[in-house]
Amino acid sequence: MASGDPLVLGIETSCDETGVALVRGDELLVDATASSMDEHARYGGIIPEVASRAHLEAMIPTISKALGEADVDLSEVDAIAVTAGPGLVGPLTIGTSAAKALAIGLNKPLYGVNHVVGHAAVDQLVDGPFPDRVMALVVSGGHSSLLLVDDIATDVTELGSTLDDAAGEAFDKVGRLLGLPYPGGPHIDRLAREGDPTAIRFPRGLTAAKDQAKHAYDFSFSGLKTAVARWVEACQDSGREVPVADVAASFAEAVVDVLTAKTIAACRLHDVETLVIGGGFSANSQLREMAAKRCAEAGIDLRIPPIRYCTDNGAMIAALGSAVVRAGVAPSNLDIGVDSSMSLTTVTV
């Protein structure tokens, strides 16, 4: 263990996972997660009030579990990092309140950090420190963003993001219209393996020449979602059975084609040789395959952490906190609020 580095406790509560982790340097000591996903699945999405209550109940047990598994006493913690945004206001408030209480009780510095940047930072725990400049594609139920990372602790530029639906959200909505359970992503991925991704040429949002000037690195999946809905309706109206596997595979192909094409183009433009993909949607098998293929062709080093670090977790926040502390960034004030739509260029508050 690099004992010279500070021990950072990270707390993540932006959505439905209560995550607590301990990181020293780039080494993960423990990552404990409690999820309220099962409670939300029957509603077809996250219920903010249910999530807030679940975080409240899980917070202290999850902290205790993390400390116990790592055999660390709270007094050994050097800094507290917590997600300050973006995310759901209620859940974020539970996490920041717990973090402030710990910071005050332990008399240790508090760092409010950005959830989306955390999705990129967690890769350092798996694949080692970032080179000077990396591209990060963060794709999940709530986010589809392309970040140019010159310094994960201090210098992140948002090159583009979704103008309407996030990638994972489009999967949930298409899942809904195909009659699949929530969340749609894993179900569509499973069905897509049996389908033909070239069966239906669904539209690629914001890839037309006219969109290059203003939206070269932005994403739009709303038109694609509408096209899938209307294609399925036309199929139903003509009395044909909907070829669900082909629709799933072709829809996913359209999403993944745009994500990877724009990301590789951004890497070329900014002379970046390392790409990190994070966020829950990076579990998608078609995304992993196409990103691997296109990065290999373009000579780009692709880093995708294991799936358990791509979904929301405490490790990503502890990892970013660790980077921020080591970079000498000033701690947050103890009166920080939460920001549900925090700018992605804001690493710390």
Binding site: Y43, G44, G45, I46, I47, P48, E49, P86, G87, L88, V89, G90, T93, G141, G142, S161, T162, L163, D164, D165, A166, E169, D172, K173, R176, L177, D196, T198, A199, I200, R201, F202, P203, S222, G223, K225, T226, A227, A229, R230, W231, E233, A234, C235, D237, S238, R240, P243, D246, G337, S340, S341
Partner: protein, 195 residues
């Protein structure tokens, strides 16, 4: 009060859907509630993008589905004043609009224009003054695309008109309820959207 005013308008493309949002924005003031109804892909978020741009608010107006409610504070106008902000809500998973208060929004609904997607049946608990807008998109691949409506597989061409699926003609029906909307000329708003 049971005053109801209505207007209907055809929206040939996404730009006109945004123009309707923009035309309405000029009529809106702090405290107003707009309820949007329509299937997936009907243009609810597109409409709200036009409304937000004309209102002059900060941040990208995108789907609020994931975070349930997204707040857009007002930007200062050229004359230094500020108008109302925008609170953009996806009520699909809310039990009632009174749950909006439990979301701990920074901006109060009294100081903002609130646009609620999937809010029909939930708004009544909040206020009887509201503008309801129904957005209807074409079903299937028929009409404007010139297709016979039968999906085509196994081709790289676009005979089914999928590239245009988003830009098919929508129809909007505006319905103003309560004292706030009594006497408001909704017809003038839809005419403004088309010119």
């Amino acid at each position: 009060m049971n005053d109801v005013t209505t207007a209907r308008v055809e929206l040939p493309d996404a730009a006109t859907t945004k123009a309707l949002g923009a035309a309405l924005a000029r009529e809106l003031r702090a405290g107003d509630l707009v309820i949007l109804t329509g299937d997936l892909g009907a243009g609810k978020t597109t409409f709200t993008q036009g409304l937000g741009a004309a209102l002059g608010v900060r941040g990208q107006v995108a789907s609020p589905t994931f975070i349930v409610a997204r707040e857009h504070p007002p930007l200062p106008r050229e004359d230094g004043t500020t108008g109302p902000g925008l609170v953009h809500v996806d009520a699909y998973r809310l039990g009632g609009l009174d749950e909006l208060e439990a979301l701990d929004l920074d901006s109060s609904l009294e100081d903002s224009v609130t646009v609620v997607e999937w809010g029909r049946g939930l708004a009544e608990t909040l206020t009887e003054d509201r503008l309801e807008i129904d957005l209807v998109r074409p079903r299937g691949l028929t009409d404007e695309q010139g297709s016979d409506g039968v999906p085509v597989e196994g081709t790289d061409q676009d005979p089914a008109g999928l590239e245009d699926a988003e830009t098919g003609v929508r129809h909007a029906t505006l319905r103003g309820l309560g004292a706030r909307w009594a006497g408001v000329d909704l017809q003038a708003i839809v005419v403004a959207a088309r010119t």
